[in-house]
């Protein structure tokens, strides 16, 4: 069997270019599926871990629903901004809540000595934010309630900012300029990686009262992050908070909510829908190009069988059984396929690497690529190689020997 496999491979090396061209369809198919699965895998690995870390017990109160679309967003602009004080109100009065924090943010530049980073999202939060989001501080500490109240210029930075400003030195205690104001770095967030379109390591958090002081004239309102006591009590908690917010915003019973309670779960649903769509695209493109590629393989195998009629005759005269001829050509078509599959997977891993390195998206090579690859080789090679191989196996040795 091993010998027959060798024969098949040596036949391929005789027509390298032809083999490569033939497998283009399979290459494209495998590449598409491979690249998309790498992206999905990348999204999964960063998304799921972080969403679950952020907790299915966390929700956010803001003016607009995250998933309401354009109309919702337009409506929301007419609504009253969310007051950051709501967070304190919730913390004080709610029973089903562990912690809550206002969130106000803007994009601005960071400067350290002569270095600067453009357009970083700065978020003003209170001292409870790490508890809510489940973030770890790898160096230094987060700011305290008192520091927040006293509007201290303290900042906790993400890993990317540290890399940019302090590649080799300790950032703790250093001064950086945020929006022209001097801040002292007191902590460093643990590295978290990418999540959907956000790089979690880009974040910078400061006390929200400091934020407010700094941005007095442009207060666009906040949103409130709330962590429920437990996932089981989430619905109770949401209902309690809804009533509390209605009361706080002075809504009459007949008026509709002029705010939305958003939750990561909704995000997960959307995410699942998106990845399902991606999968459908991958499988669609993949199977079409595999069929096209398979027909290419079949075509080239028919040519190969016709070209080598005499060889088949010789082999038969030397005692090759039908089975052995059949296997020789089946192996050959599987070898052709494996060229396509390997090229496709190489291209896909190259793409995955580029995506991971140069875009905010994450991509990861899934462990099941090996299975995907060999599955394709076996399936396409067998299905589309069967007819040509069978034709070779059934050749009449006398006619085959006479063929020139």
């Amino acid at each position: 069997m091993l010998e027959i496999l060798k024969m098949a491979i040596s036949a391929l090396t005789a027509h390298k270019m032809r083999a490569v061209l033939t497998t283009l369809g399979i290459t494209i198919g495998v590449f598409t599926v491979g690249a998309i699965t790498a992206i999905i895998e990348g999204l999964n690995s960063s998304f799921e871990s972080q969403v679950s870390m952020m907790g299915s017990d966390v929700f956010y109160i803001s003016r607009a629903s995250w998933f309401g679309g354009y109309d919702e967003w337009i409506n929301a602009r007419k609504r009253k901004p969310i007051d950051a004080g709501l967070a304190e109100y919730i913390s004080e009065h709610a029973t089903y809540v562990t912690a809550s924090s206002p969130m106000v943010s803007m994009h601005t530049n960071l400067k350290y000595q002569n270095k600067s980073v453009e357009s970083v999202q700065i978020t003003g939060v209170n001292h409870l934010m790490p508890t809510i989001e489940g973030t770890e501080i790898s160096e230094g500490r987060f700011f305290t309630e008192t520091e927040c109240k006293h509007r201290r210029n303290l900042v906790v930075i993400g890993e990317n900012i540290r890399k940019e400003f302090f590649p080799n030195t300790d950032p703790i205690g250093e001064n950086i300029l945020i929006h022209g104001n001097r801040f002292i770095i007191i902590g460093l967030f643990e590295k978290k990686g990418k999540m959907l379109f956000n790089d979690m390591d880009n974040r910078v958090q400061i006390p929200y009262l400091t934020f407010k002081k700094m941005m007095q004239r442009r207060n666009r309102g906040a949103s409130i992050a709330v962590k429920a006591v437990s996932t089981g009590l989430l619905d109770d908690s949401k209902e309690e908070i809804r009533n509390m917010v209605r009361h706080y915003r002075g809504l009459k019973p007949i008026e509709e909510d002029d705010f939305a309670i958003n939750q990561m779960n909704t995000l997960i649903d959307m995410y699942n829908r998106m990845t399902a769509l991606l999968w459908a695209v991958a499988i669609g493109i993949g199977s079409i190009s595999l069929v096209v590629g398979g027909i290419g393989v079949m075509n080239i195998m028919l040519v190969s069988v016709a070209e080598r009629t005499r060889e088949i005759g010789i082999r038969k005269s030397l005692g090759a059984t039908r089975q052995k001829i059949l296997f020789q050509f089946l192996f050959e078509s599987m070898a052709v396929c494996s060229i396509g599959v390997i090229t496709g997977l190489l291209l896909a891993s190259g793409t995955a690497f580029i995506i991971q390195t140069f875009t905010p998206l994450a991509a990861k090579i899934p462990a099941n690529w090996g299975i995907l690859g060999s599955g394709v080789v076996i399936l396409v090679g067998l299905v589309f190689g069967m007819w040509p191989a069978n034709r070779a196996a059934r050749m009449d040795p006398i006619n085959a020997l006479r063929f020139s």
Binding site: A11, R315, K316, S317, L318, G319, T321, I398, L401
Partner: protein, 244 residues
């Protein structure tokens, strides 16, 4: 003189082709016995049926009627009520182990080296790698081509190619060597070299059948069969050679 054991027996064998409306009797009621260590030449003009005879002996073709026995075993019996025929694997087995083919056009695999060509029947016989190497090298040594083992056919002369083909035919120690115009593509000097090989093979107790239309090649054989219109026209002992 004691009769040598029977190797091949044709019992009223015919091979009929249907070409459109025309019926061609390529072989017409041929009865023939070939014994161990026979050295036979089969002659006849083209279209006389000698190739068909050869193909049937070589288990590449099956007769339309008659019984063919190879080493007393029935290869096919088309006369009995229910025809008996060996299946494809059995026929391939006979071709592989019992018959060594030598062709006019050598029929070597062009991309394979001399060694790989000689090794091929051994692969199909399922012989282990180490043993294959030994046997193929010995076969190449027998045709004095050990130093050309790694050459491709295109790097060998016509005579050398035919010697590789002979080595390949002999590597499985077959019961019979079937040579179809083995010198047809060679010049006269190389032809003589090749023919001394066949003479030598016969001396070493091999059974050799030569199909040729050249009388001086046929004259090497000890028994000369002449075929005409699918029938055996003459089957005579070549007294000149037998005396030697």
């Amino acid at each position: 003189m004691t009769e040598k054991p029977e190797l091949i027996h044709f019992d009223h064998i015919s091979r009929i082709y249907q070409m459109g409306t025309e019926t061609i009797r390529a072989l017409d009621d041929v009865t023939l016995t070939i014994r161990n260590n026979d050295y036979i030449s089969i002659m006849g003009p083209s279209g006389s049926g000698k190739s068909t005879l050869m193909n049937i002996i070589g288990c590449l073709d099956t007769p339309t009627t008659g019984v063919y026995r190879f080493e007393k075993e029935i290869v096919c019996d088309m006369n009995s009520e229910k025809t008996i025929k060996m299946n494809d694997n059995q026929l391939a087995g006979i071709r592989n182990k019992k018959i060594g083919f030598v062709f006019q056009t050598f029929n070597l695999l062009p991309r394979a080296s001399a060694f790989q060509n000689v090794e091929l029947p051994l692969i199909y016989a399922g012989i282990s790698r180490g043993q294959r190497r030994e046997m193929a090298m010995k076969a190449l040594e027998n045709v004095s081509l050990l130093d050309r083992a790694s050459h491709k056919p295109s790097e060998l002369s016509g005579g050398q190619r035919q010697r590789v083909a002979i080595a390949r035919a002999l590597v499985n120690s077959p019961s019979i060597i079937l040579a179809d115009e083995p010198t047809g593509n060679l010049d006269s000097e190389t032809s003589r070299d090749i023919m001394t090989f066949f003479d030598e093979l016969h001396r070493r107790n091999n059974t050799v059948i030569l199909v040729t239309h050249e009388p001086d090649i046929a004259a090497h054989a000890h028994r000369m069969i002449h075929i005409l219109d699918g029938k055996i026209d003459s089957d005579v002992v070549n007294h000149k050679m037998v005396k030697n």
